[in-house]
Symmetry: C2
Subunit: 163 residues, 2 copies
Amino acid sequence: MKPATALPAQKNTRASDISDSQLRGLFGYNLKRSFSALQVDLLEVLSKFDLRMVPFSTLVMIVENPGLRQSQLADALAIERPNLVVVLDALERRELITRDRVPTDRRAYALRATLAGHQLFEKAYRAVQTHEARYLDRLTTAEREALSSALNKIRATFEETGE
Amino acid sequence: MKPATALPAQKNTRASDISDSQLRGLFGYNLKRSFSALQVDLLEVLSKFDLRMVPFSTLVMIVENPGLRQSQLADALAIERPNLVVVLDALERRELITRDRVPTDRRAYALRATLAGHQLFEKAYRAVQTHEARYLDRLTTAEREALSSALNKIRATFEETGE
DNA sequence: TATTGTTATACTCTATAACTATA
DNA sequence: TATAGTTATAGAGTATAACAATA
C-alpha cells in the first residue's frame, strides 16, 4: 500500500460509504464493539437498581459465597484490592452487605449480604437475565455453545501465563 | 435464597474454592472477562509501536479510507468527536497522518496517512494478526464462524435501536 | 517477614456542554 | 440555523506505592 499523494477528500458521504473491513477482520475489535453495544443496555438495566457492573458482580459473588474475604473477592473478580474497597464501602453504606471481623484472622473481614442485599440481588439478577435474553434469543443453540467455548478458550489463552 | 445469619467465614481457601457460577452463567460477564484478558496481551503488542487501541484503530481506518473526515471517522469508530481530536493531534505530531483542509468545505479536514503512517500500520497490523492467531489457532472453524456470527447478532441487537 | 485492608494518587477511557469558523 | 472541529471538564474504570494492623 502506497501513501496518498493528492487524492480528493471524502465528500459528504453516508457512514455506509466508509469501509472498516480491516478492523472487522480482527476478532478482538468485534469483541470490543459488541461488548460496548451490549454494555449500554446493561448499564441502563442496572441503573434501575442503582448498580453498575462492578458493584453488581460484587453483590452476586457475596451472595454466592457468604463469608468471603475481600482479597479472595478481588482475586475472583480480577480487580485490584484498593478498587474493591470503595465498591464495598458503597454497598455497606446502602446496607446491602456487612463486613464482619474474622475471629481467627483479625486482619480480614467476612463479607455477607443482608436481607436487603439478597432481595436486590434477586431482582437485579433476573433483570440482567432478561437483558441477556434480548440477544441470546437470536442465537442458535450451536452458536451459544460455540460462543461460550470460544470465550473460554480466549480467556485460557491469555490467563494461563498470567496466573 | 435466604440471608446469611451466623455462618463461618471462608477460611484461607484457594481461589478454586470460591464459586462464580452465577456470574459465569451470564454471557455478558464472560464477554467482559475474555476481552479483558485479551486486552492485556494486545496492549503489550501495540506498545512496541507506541500505540494504544484507539490510536491503532484510528490509523487503520485512515489508511483504509484516505481523505476521511474527522466526524465520519468518529462515527465509524463509535467514539465521540472531542475524544478523537486528541488522538489525531498525537498521530499528527508523530507525522503519521496529515490533516488537509477540504477546499469544498473549509470547516472539514481530510485525513491521510503519511508514508511513515503506512509503514507503521503495516507492521502494527501484522503484529496484531499474530496476537490474534494466539487464540484463533485454538478455535475450530465452526467456533470461529459461530463466534463471528454471534458477535454480529449481539451488536445488531443493541445498535439497531440506537442508530 | 508476609498478608489484609486501606489511603492516596494517577492514568486511561468515555461523555457532555459550549465555543469558533464555516456552511 | 446547522455542521466540523475544538476546548474544557467531569465521571468511571483501572493500576501502583505505601501505610497500619495483624499474622
